[in-house]
């Protein structure tokens, strides 16, 4: 469903992704871990077509929607309008299913998205992505800046979308515990390269992964 082969992406002259190959099969939920600056968001932007590869290939077998890092809503538009605009590509104009999925948004539909809580904003971001009726979802840092119980609730929704509707998910996370709890398989990206990959159970036993992502010293790999 999602496949990259030897993908190279540059920001100006800086190489953000260097020969990245990964794949997510239809209906699968796969995690992508890595410290700040590893190139995770660059990969998400490339998958959704905002950035173009300098080399290598990207293959998407269906419609892909992107929940960007930091929500990236239209703050001065209402929740309803944010959702409606999610249907720009698909032509979907019926938002009822999003409010069924996230009942908490129903009362907020006429409010400006910018004034909502972080958790509600993330729901709008996910709902807006679902409005494009996607086959695959790239979620960039679901848990960023959210309280643990809010993150758990949202994670539950993503897991159900995957299990019940067969939505393919690439879950970009810095919180490895959360990602390992949700996915079967994971990739670890560092400085633009895939440095580890495999079933989460195996990765959770890899001393390097434990040290970097499960020991609390997260974010040590930032480069300039």
């Amino acid at each position: 469903m999602i496949e990259t082969r030897d993908l190279v992406v540059r920001h100006g002259s800086a190489t953000a992704l260097d020969q990245v190959s990964l794949s997510v099969r239809r209906g699968e939920m796969v995690a992508l871990l890595g410290p700040n600056g590893a190139g995770k968001s660059t990969l998400a932007d490339t998958l959704s077509g905002i950035l173009s590869p300098a080399a290598g290939t990207v293959r998407i077998g269906g419609r892909l929607a992107h929940v960007p890092e930091g929500r990236q809503l239209f703050p001065d538009l209402t929740v309803q309008d944010n959702l409606l605009l999610g249907g720009w590509r698909s032509g979907e104009r019926d938002t009822a299913f999003v409010y069924e999925l996230f009942p908490a948004l129903a009362q907020a539909r006429r409010r400006r998205a910018g004034v909502l809580s972080g958790g509600q904003q993330q729901m709008v971001a996910v709902g807006r992505a679902l409005m494009s009726r996607p086959d695959a979802l790239v979620v960039d840092e679901l848990s960023l800046g959210l309280a643990p119980n809010v993150t758990r609730d949202l994670a539950g929704h993503i897991v159900r979308l995957n299990a019940e509707r067969g939505l393919t998910v690439l879950l970009i996370e810095q919180n490895a515990r959360l990602a390992f709890g949700m996915c079967e398989r994971a990739y670890v990206l560092e400085a633009g390269r895939v440095v580890a990959q495999g079933p989460c159970a195996e990765l959770a036993g890899d001393p390097r992964v434990v040290r970097a992502y499960l020991g609390g010293a997260i974010g040590g790999g930032t480069r300039s």
């Binding site: 905002i50 960007p68 809503l73 239209f74 538009l77 409606l84 605009l85 720009w88 807006r128 494009s132």
Partner: protein
């Protein structure tokens, strides 16, 4: 009293012209985040074109329509230069529009000469019960402006394409994430800006002759009004424009004609200082 009424209606008509310039500025800024300094140029191009086409024998109506379309084309052309290259920052685009406005002087002088031009507007006048006389053309300007603002507000706030256009400036990255072609939408906004500028030009020229460098006066006034609406609220921009138009016309009517530009500049400065102290509206929304 009837003299005052006449000045008032004149002022409203002048204000409507300013408002139309401001509406183009708002339309372009709302979508692209760019302050378009060539907005007055679109009006000048339309005014000069209309006068030229009428001189060439085109009937009223057809000449004005063609002039507005020429201005719309100029708007699209300006957009292509200013934002056509992907990733151009709004601040850089602003400088490019200034360049376009200056370059346009050369084109206009070559095409139409450097002398002011005008053409007659809607002929005739109506007399109000109090004895004040109002030119028909002034009423036309007011009606056209009212219609434009109603349509523009409905378009941006009630229609799907209007919301998608607003989304482009609100968060260009997010707009691309959901699949909106931000550059193409920006070009559409410049086309709309050209159209609105052109409308301003053909309506205002019969009130006051226009020459290649009138764009500065139009732009100063239009920008002052647009800033009153924080460069994104058509309704507030209209209010600011009417205020300006009336103030300037009253000043001119009672013998202070030389101070018209200063009034606009002073108004703009006060509004900007007040807004800047409330919150950094212009900066925040231009970035």
């Amino acid at each position: 009293m009837s003299e005052f009424l006449t000045y008032l209606v004149n002022g409203l008509a002048v204000g409507c012209g300013i408002a139309l310039i401001a509406s183009g500025l708002v339309a372009i800024h709302r979508v692209t985040g760019v302050v378009n300094f060539a907005q007055g140029t679109f009006a000048v191009i339309a005014g000069l074109s209309a006068s030229w086409l009428l001189g060439a024998g085109l009937p009223h109506g057809a000449a004005e329509l063609a002039a507005v379309l020429i201005a719309a084309a100029a708007g699209l052309l300006t957009g292509l230069v200013a934002i056509g290259r992907r990733g151009t920052a709004p601040q850089s685009s602003l400088i490019i529009t200034l360049g376009v406005a200056v370059l346009a002087y050369a084109v206009e002088i070559v095409a139409w000469g450097d002398q002011p031009r005008s053409f007659p507007g809607l002929p005739g006048s109506v007399t109000l019960p109090g004895g004040a006389e109002i030119q028909r053309h002034h009423l036309l300007v007011v009606a056209a402006t009212a219609a434009t603002f109603v349509l523009l507000t409905l378009f941006f706030e009630r229609t799907y394409p209007g919301k998608a256009l607003s989304a482009c400036a609100s968060n260009p990255y997010a707009a691309r994430v959901i699949g909106i072609d931000v550059t193409r939408m920006g070009l559409l906004a410049f086309l709309l800006g050209g159209l609105l500028g052109g409308l301003a030009g053909v309506l205002v020229t019969p009130l006051r002759p226009i020459s290649f460098d009138t764009d500065v006066l139009l732009m100063v006034n239009g920008f002052a009004a647009a800033v009153f609406g924080a460069l994104r609220r058509p309704g507030l921009a209209l209010a600011g424009a009417l205020l300006l138009g009336v103030a300037e016309t009253l000043a001119a009517g009672y013998g202070y004609a030389a101070y018209q530009t200063e009034i606009a500049l002073g108004f703009m400065l006060v509004v900007m200082v007040v807004q800047a102290s409330r919150r950094a509206t212009i900066h925040e929304e231009a970035v």
